[in-house]
C-alpha cells in the first residue's frame, strides 16, 4: 500500500455500482469515479509534471471529489480552493503555490479566468469525459512512493499569510487505518458530510469512505439553517455516521430539532475543530442513547487528528470533555517551556510525532522549521515533532485535557487566565446558545460575546457565582447569532476586530 488510489480502485472492484459520493443533485458510483478520475489524470498528465500542485476550484460537490482523485492519478497533488473565497486571497495563495494548472468547471470559468497564475486551465467537464491513457497511468503509479504529496490545505496564518500544509499518502493511509479500526467503519457506513473539503476534517469522511467502500453523502450547506429539513435529508440518505464541528451540532440542539425528527439510524457522532459545549452534547446524548460520541482533537498539520476521547461517562454541563489519548500509530508528548517533558498534571505544549505529520508548509521553509522541529526528547537521530501551539495536561485518569491555545492564554494582574474556562462556565447556562471569549489586547479587555435570550445582568450573576473576580470579562456583548467562519466554526478573528460594532 503506497498510494491512496489503491483504496479507490479496490472499492471500485468490489462495489462498482455502489454510490461512492452523493450530493443533492448527483450520485457517482465507484466505477464512474475511477473512470472519470483516470480521464482527468490522463489529461493533466499531458503537462509532464510530477509532485507539483494543481489547484481545484469547484464547489463542494460529488464531482469535486472525483476531480481531486484525478489530480492524484496525474502524479501531482491537489490543493482545494474554496470557490467562494475572494479572488485577492486566492491570488495570495497562488503566489506561494504557483500551481502548474487550475482545474475548474464551467460554473467557475469566469472566476478562474480572473485569477493570476501561469499554469494551464483545465475544465472538469472536458477532462473527465476525455480518453484514458492506461499505460501512462500505470507508468505514473509505478514511480509513486508513499511519501509523495497527496494534497495541500491552506490555513490562515496568524500573520495573515496563508500556509499550505502538505500531506503525503503515507499520512492519510496511517490515519485512515486508525479511523477504520477505532470506529468500525465498514462497507455499509453512510457518512453525512458537513465539513467543506478545504477543511482538514473532511479528510476523515473522504478517505475512510474510499477505504471501506462505503458512501459519503454531502449534506447541502443551505439545510444547516433548516435543521428539520437537514435531519429529514439525513434519514432519506440513511446517514449513520457524522463528523461535524460543534457549532453545526449546536444548531440542531439549540432548536431541539431532534425532538421533532429523530435519527434512528445514527450510530456514530464524532466532532472536532473547536471545543464542544457540554450542554449541547448532553442534549444529543439524551436523544440518542446507545450512539457512540467521540471528541477528536488535532490540527491540519498532522492530517486531521492526533488524540481522541470516546465519551464513556456523564459530564455536567459546566465540565469540559477530555481530548483523551493518542490515536494508534501516533504519539503525543507534552513539553514544558524549558524543553523537558511535563509530569502528570503539569501543563505543557502538545507535540505530535509519527506518520500523521505533514511534510511541512509548501514553499515556506521558515514557517516549517518553526513548527516542525527535532523531538526535544530525542538527541540521537533525526526525528521531527509538530508543535501544536496548544496547552494541555493529563488528568488523574490519564486523559489529556485541552487547556487553551498558547496565544489565548493571557496574563492579567499577574494571573494567568484561560479564556476557554470562562466560555465553559458561561456556556453551561441554560439560555446561552453560544458564547466566545476574546481578549482585546490593545485595550486590555476580556470580552464575552454571547447568543441567547438572557440579560447581561443575569449572565454577570452566573459569572460571579462560577469564576474568580480576576477572570470576569470587562465587557459583555449580546449578539443575535454568532458569526461563523467558512468552516462553520465561531469566527474569533472577526469577533476580535469588530465586537464593538456588534
Amino acid at each position: 500500500m503506497k498510494n491512496i488510489l489503491e483504496y479507490l480502485e479496490a472499492s471500485a472492484k468490489y462495489y462498482p455500482e455502489k454510490a461512492a459520493f452523493t450530493d443533492e443533485n448527483t450520485e457517482i458510483t465507484y466505477r464512474e469515479a475511477v473512470n472519470k478520475a483516470m480521464a482527468i489524470g490522463s489529461s493533466l498528465a499531458s503537462l509532464g509534471k510530477r509532485n507539483a500542485p494543481v489547484a481545484v476550484l469547484m464547489d463542494n460537490c460529488a464531482d469535486s471529489l472525483v476531480a481531486y482523485f484525478g489530480v492524484v492519478y496525474s502524479g501531482n497533488f491537489y490543493v482545494v480552493i474554496d470557490a467562494k473565497m475572494p479572488s485577492d486571497r486566492i491570488n495570495v495563495i497562488f503566489e506561494t503555490l504557483r500551481p502548474i494548472a487550475v482545474l475548474t468547471d464551467r460554473r467557475h470559468e469566469e472566476k478562474a479566468l480572473g485569477l493570476s497564475f501561469e499554469g494551464r486551465l483545465f475544465f472538469y467537464e472536458d477532462s473527465s469525459s476525455g480518453p484514458i491513457d492506461y499505460p501512462g497511468m500505470d507508468a505514473i503509479r509505478r514511480r509513486s512512493i508513499d511519501t509523495d504529496p497527496l494534497y495541500a490545505l491552506f490555513t490562515s496564518g496568524s500573520t495573515g499569510v496563508p500556509k499550505g500544509a502538505v500531506i503525503c499518502h503515507r499520512s492519510v493511509i496511517a490515519y485512515a487505518e486508525w479511523i477504520q479500526e477505532t470506529f468500525g467503519i465498514d462497507e455499509n457506513t453512510q457518512f453525512g458530510n458537513q465539513t467543506p473539503f478545504y477543511f482538514s476534517m473532511s479528510v476523515l469522511d473522504i478517505f475512510s469512505t474510499i477505504k471501506a467502500g462505503c458512501t459519503l453523502h454531502i449534506l447541502p450547506k443551505k439545510f444547516f439553517s433548516f435543521p428539520v429539513k437537514l435531519l429529514q435529508y439525513m434519514n432519506e440518505k440513511h446517514v449513520d455516521t457524522i463528523y461535524w464541528v460543534p457549532s453545526a451540532l449546536s444548531i440542531i440542539s439549540n432548536l431541539k430539532a431532534l425532538d421533532y425528527v429523530p435519527l434512528p439510524e445514527l450510530k456514530r457522532v464524532l466532532f472536532a475543530g473547536e471545543v464542544m459545549p457540554t450542554k449541547q452534547l448532553n442534549y444529543w446524548i439524551s436523544k440518542l442513547p446507545g450512539v457512540l460520541f467521540a471528541n477528536l482533537y488535532g490540527p491540519t498539520e498532522i492530517t486531521d487528528i492526533c488524540t481522541y476521547y470516546i465519551v464513556d461517562r456523564k459530564f455536567a454541563d459546566d465540565e469540559a470533555l477530555p481530548i483523551g489519548r493518542a490515536c494508534s500509530n501516533c504519539d503525543v508528548i507534552v513539553i514544558k517551556d524549558d524543553g523537558t517533558e511535563a509530569a502528570p498534571g503539569e501543563e505543557g505544549e502538545l507535540c505530535v510525532r509519527g506518520s500523521f505529520l505533514a511534510l511541512g508548509y509548501y514553499n515556506n521553509p521558515e514557517k516549517t522549521s518553526q513548527a516542525f522541529v527535532q523531538n526535544p526528547l530525542n538527541p540521537n537521530y533525526p526525528e521531527l515533532v509538530y508543535k501544536t501551539g496548544d496547552l494541555v495536561r493529563y488528568n488523574d485518569r490519564g486523559e489529556l485535557i485541552y487547556i487553551t491555545r498558547k496565544d489565548f492564554q493571557i496574563k492579567r494582574m499577574g494571573y494567568r487566565i484561560e479564556l476557554g474556562e470562562i466560555e465553559t462556565a458561561v456556556g453551561s447556562v441554560d439560555r446561552i446558545k453560544a458564547c466566545a471569549c476574546i481578549f482585546d489586547d490593545e485595550n486590555d479587555r476580556i470580552v464575552l460575546v454571547y447568543q441567547g435570550e438572557i440579560e447581561e445582568a443575569a449572565v454577570r450573576d452566573v459569572i460571579k457565582a462560577k469564576l474568580p473576580e480576576y477572570m470576569h470579562p470587562n465587557r459583555l456583548v449580546q449578539v443575535k447569532s454568532m458569526p461563523l467562519n467558512p468552516n462553520g466554526k465561531i469566527d474569533r478573528k472577526h469577533l476580535k476586530s469588530s465586537y464593538h460594532t456588534l
Binding site: F226, P227, V228, K256, A257, K480, S481
Partner: protein
C-alpha cells in the same frame, strides 16, 4: 409587511426583497442570516417559530415569510 421588509433590509441591505422570489436557492440569505432572522421575527412580532416551520418554503420570499407570521399569529 412593511415592518418585515424593514427587518429584511436591515439584515441584508441592497436586496429588493419585495421582488426576490427565491432567497434560499439563489443564495441571497446565508444560513447564519436565516438564524438571525428567525430570532428577530420572534422578538419583533412576538411569535414563537417551531423548528418544524423553519423550512426553505417558508423563507423563500418576503411573501412566504409574511404568510408564516400571519399563520402563527392566527393559530395563537
Amino acid at each position: 409587511m412593511d415592518k418585515l421588509l424593514e427587518i429584511l433590509e436591515d439584515l441584508k441591505p441592497g436586496v429588493d426583497f419585495a421582488l426576490e422570489d427565491d432567497l434560499i436557492e439563489d443564495g441571497i440569505l446565508s444560513s447564519l442570516e436565516i438564524m438571525t432572522l428567525v430570532v428577530e421575527l420572534c422578538t419583533e412580532f412576538g411569535i414563537e417559530i417551531s423548528p418544524l416551520d423553519i423550512v426553505p418554503e417558508n423563507f423563500k420570499s418576503a411573501q412566504a415569510i409574511y404568510a408564516l407570521i400571519t399563520r402563527i399569529r392566527d393559530e395563537d
